[in-house]
């Protein structure tokens, strides 16, 4: 069903709703095993209510082809509320069309409107493609690092 048209697809960004979860998971599964560099995978928290607060989906011709899962969190420095991007996913058939950029820009607008002080994401330092995307979107490297213990 993928549109083969060239040029700008009609992309509509709107808030994620509960009904979108199946579409989101379908995209998530499609991304698995495919070019990990294009995917950002971080925390999907179990409480979808919290996640839905800032999450957005991208529709192309009325079908969800991308999403950004984000939530509000409190941080210590600087003290206040920020938006945390948990997962940014775009259907592999619809990548390289600026959908991720549109999603993140829309999220930035939402967070700015909600008076959050910043938007954060944890990404793999070696994923140069993803690092490049976020730097292009005005993100700068912060001071937080991740420590993991395998049990």
């Amino acid at each position: 069903m993928a549109s083969l048209e060239r040029g700008e697809p009609k992309v509509r960004i709107r808030p994620m709703e509960h009904e979108d979860i199946d579409s989101v998971l379908t995209i998530d599964r499609k991304i698995t095993g495919r070019r990990r560099a294009v995917t950002y995978t971080e925390l999907i928290t179990g409480d979808l209510g919290g996640v839905l607060a800032l999450s957005l989906v991208a529709e192309v011709d009325g079908v969800v082809q991308g999403f950004v899962l984000a939530r509000r969190i409190y941080v210590v420095t600087p003290p206040g509320e920020v938006g945390l991007i948990q997962i940014l996913g775009v259907d592999p058939d619809y990548q390289r069309r600026g959908i991720a950029t549109k999603l993140v820009n829309a999220l930035l607008d939402t967070c700015r409107a909600k008076k959050l002080s910043a938007v954060r994401i944890m990404i793999n330092a070696r994923d140069s493609q993803l690092v490049g995307l976020f730097e292009h979107l005005g993100f700068r490297r912060g001071e937080l690092v991740d420590y993991t213990r395998t049990l």
Binding site: T39, Y74, I121, R126, R141, D146, Y147
Partner: protein, 151 residues
């Protein structure tokens, strides 16, 4: 008031009724910069299905806590325990309470089949980094990127 430091330390799951005691510890640590807010603690849903928080009690009061939560990380989706905050009352430091909290959290996660524990740490906080390394955590390749809003 810090004379009685010999009290035995017990670790137990955090409950909703502990919120005030937890906030009191937070306030003792700094009068100017709060790490936690009540709203955030309530959102953590202590004792709820995704909560993995524990408190340390000594001398019949709460003297430390770890706020942690079961989270899903993709792709493929796996269960991870994420440590949000670890605080110990200044009068009860250097008694291994942080160690006990993290050890208890680790063993509960293991029992529950949760395969990983994670914590986000400031790169410049050598003390905290050393603590987690001592607790068998290893630095991953994830780093944070931030987009701040002016004003």
């Amino acid at each position: 008031m810090s004379a009685m430091k010999k009290g035995e330390v017990t670790i137990r799951p955090m409950e909703r009724k502990d919120i005030d005691a937890v906030l009191a510890i937070d306030r003792r640590i700094s009068l100017t910069q709060r790490v936690l807010r009540r709203r955030e603690l309530i959102a953590c849903d202590p004792g709820g299905p995704l909560d993995l928080s524990f408190v340390a009690e000594a001398d019949n009061k709460i003297v430390g806590f770890v706020l942690a939560r079961l989270t899903y990380v993709g792709v493929p989706v796996t269960e991870v325990g994420v440590i949000h905050t670890l605080l110990v009352d200044p009068d009860y430091r250097k008694q291994g309470i942080s160690n006990k909290l993290i050890s208890t959290l680790s063993s509960v996660c293991q029992t529950e089949g949760i395969s990983q524990l994670r914590a986000v740490v400031n790169e410049r906080d050598t003390q905290l980094k050393n603590f987690f390394e001592k607790m068998s955590f290893r630095r991953s390749e994830l780093i944070n990127y931030v987009r701040t809003f002016e004003g």
